[in-house]
Symmetry: C2
Subunit: 360 residues, 2 copies
């Protein structure tokens, strides 16, 4: 039961593997794949080879139990990485369409909060592969536009293969902008492992640094390509509070101003474009949100997220029955940002998402 006495909480960074997608992963011999779990009691998800994500996340009741445990009212769910990247150009368009229908059903048949609000909304998938004809991609964008609970698309940093500065993406940006869909930009590939050295550090460096570096590079390339000069209405939501880019935004502006080749290319200073983007509040600390806040020109472009089902409590290190630190830390961070009013914080927790995604 949802208490109406408290304010709402909307999670814009929360992933699913839908049953149809899970079936694909069960048939695979390398990551992403699903294997029988070591305890023999179920299945384990391997997103990054060598790292057992340990539990299954294709069941909506599990997502709801997580939401209820953490007082999350609404989840705007997205298929987790690596999306359709391991498919062929022949398979991807149909599967994207089917998975979008599946996700619409997942949202539409889930519980509602009120006559106008449901507990689930979603980001659709696009068949973003090099050899898929643009018309097939734009027709999936059209499809998503007809599905009432899908409010955006999740996109990897490779775009259709060559990154977000690829001129081939122009008609796709155009189509997404015209449908008013939000693009959730999410990393998967990180940076080459050899940069992290020979010492065994688990997955700390690829996740803590590789992921946000990937997002920062993709976004900088997107900005440098002038995409926002041509498509000022495009709405790009950056995972993990923009990765490393907000703290490097003035350095980026300075390097552009000092490079004869690009100094005159863009209409605005690089920081202006960072202020046109949207950010989740998945940074685990108030100082980090304070930084992203500056780039985001206030609190209105930032939205709470959890990154569920990733980062569960580690047995033996944290209490596995307690609330997840990955959630409580992100909530505490929002609370502690200096200079944010209660209304600003409410915006980050729910109001901004309701407005940006047009939920109510």
């Amino acid at each position: 039961m949802l208490s109406r006495a408290r304010n709402m909480l909307v999670d814009v960074h929360t992933h699913v593997y839908l049953p149809r997608y899970a079936n694909l992963m069960r048939a695979r011999s390398k990551a992403p794949r699903i294997v029988p779990s070591k305890d023999g009691k179920g299945e384990s998800l391997i997103v990054l080879e060598g790292k057992d994500s340990g539990r299954t996340y294709w069941d909506r009741s599990e997502k709801l139990a997580f939401m209820d445990k953490h007082d999350i009212d609404i989840s705007v769910v997205s298929t987790a990485n690596p999306w359709l990247d391991f498919l062929t150009a022949k398979e991807a368009p149909l599967l994207a369409t089917q998975l979008n229908e599946d996700l619409e059903t997942y949202c539409a048949t889930g519980p509602s909060l009120s006559s106008s609000l449901r507990r689930f909304y979603g980001f659709g998938l696009l068949p973003l592969l090099p050899d898929v004809p643009t018309s097939e991609i734009t027709s999936v964008i059209e499809q998503i536009g007809t599905l009432p609970h899908l409010k955006g698309v999740i996109m990897g940093t490779k775009g259709i293969g060559k990154g977000l500065d690829d001129p081939e993406l122009e008609p796709i940006w155009e189509a997404i902008a015209s449908k008013g869909l939000v693009i959730f930009l999410h990393p998967h590939y990180g940076i080459p492992d050899e940069l992290f050295g020979d010492i065994e550090n688990g997955h700390v460096l690829p996740l803590a640094l590789g992921f946000p570096f990937e997002t920062a590079i993709a976004t900088a390339r997107f900005i440098l390509a002038g995409v926002l000069d041509r498509h000022p209405n495009l709405r790009l939501l950056l995972a993990h509070s923009g990765g490393a880019l907000p703290m490097l935004s003035s350095r980026l502006a300075s390097c552009i101003a000092h490079d004869p080749l690009v100094a005159r290319r863009l209409k605005h200073d690089a920081r202006h474009y960072l202020g046109m983007l949207y950010y989740d509040a998945v940074a685990y600390g108030a100082p980090e949100l304070t930084m992203a806040k500056w780039s985001a020109l206030g609190s209105q472009r930032m939205m709470f997220g959890t990154d569920h089902p990733f980062f569960p409590p580690v047995p033996g290190v944290a209490d596995t029955d307690a609330k997840w630190a990955s959630v409580t830390e992100n909530l505490a961070a929002i609370k502690a940002v200096p200079g944010w009013s209660e209304a600003d914080k409410e915006g980050v927790r729910s109001g901004n998402a309701i407005k940006i995604f047009g939920l109510a």
Copy 2:
């Protein structure tokens, strides 16, 4: 003439190529190298192949002219990247020793500010190459300890080849800490160019993102290896305000806490170690300094820098006779950090460096 009416300004991030080093570069056929300039009037410096740094910077009078133009009283100069990395293990130790003597002379024979303060201090060079015996490296550390104007060493992110988490560095950390020298950690290698895509963006992405990413990775590996648990007195100064690490410090702490392999390894939360480090204020914006300030536990660990001779005004884009934006932006940023008192700002401009390097 130095006006005593105003407060002091100390630049801790300012590079030189000493004449002996310049000679090395004139003999080379690939970067770093010095070639005749296109206008036939002098020489050009190529640090990154394809980018002409355009002017010569081995002349102390040029450095002084720059300092006077920007009211910089003291420069703590360091050899610019890539230091001795292109030499053989046989050549490097002698050349490091000679260049340290040269730098001592450069500082000691330069002008003074008062009976106790000179205008130049320096970071020495170490022969940090895989096949140099540790004893030869520690003996250069000993040498630097005897040179009164050298207050630290500049170090690349590779350490002696395998990065700052290399156990082989233990005796070197020990020797540097025992001499009270500050290590200035500086990037050079960035991250692989292919991550920046096919679109021509000059050197913007390697400089704006690759450099700080390199520093962030090196520092995270240094922290994860427990170096500061074993050498709590080691003083590491991070170039470019810590690169991307301050904004990712809570994410790093979270990823460590959620990784069974490393969750129990370190004595403290990752953010504690960031608070043990030192940061230059070379980030070109107040929001960025505000972020680094949090990690640096206040203003006391941050010091003004210019990155001279790099980032000169671009002809046709900026007024080449005016003060350099790369300097004025860093000064404006210090002024605009919310929550810093005048004393804090004075500390960043001069007091912290005087104290940390023991200049007066």
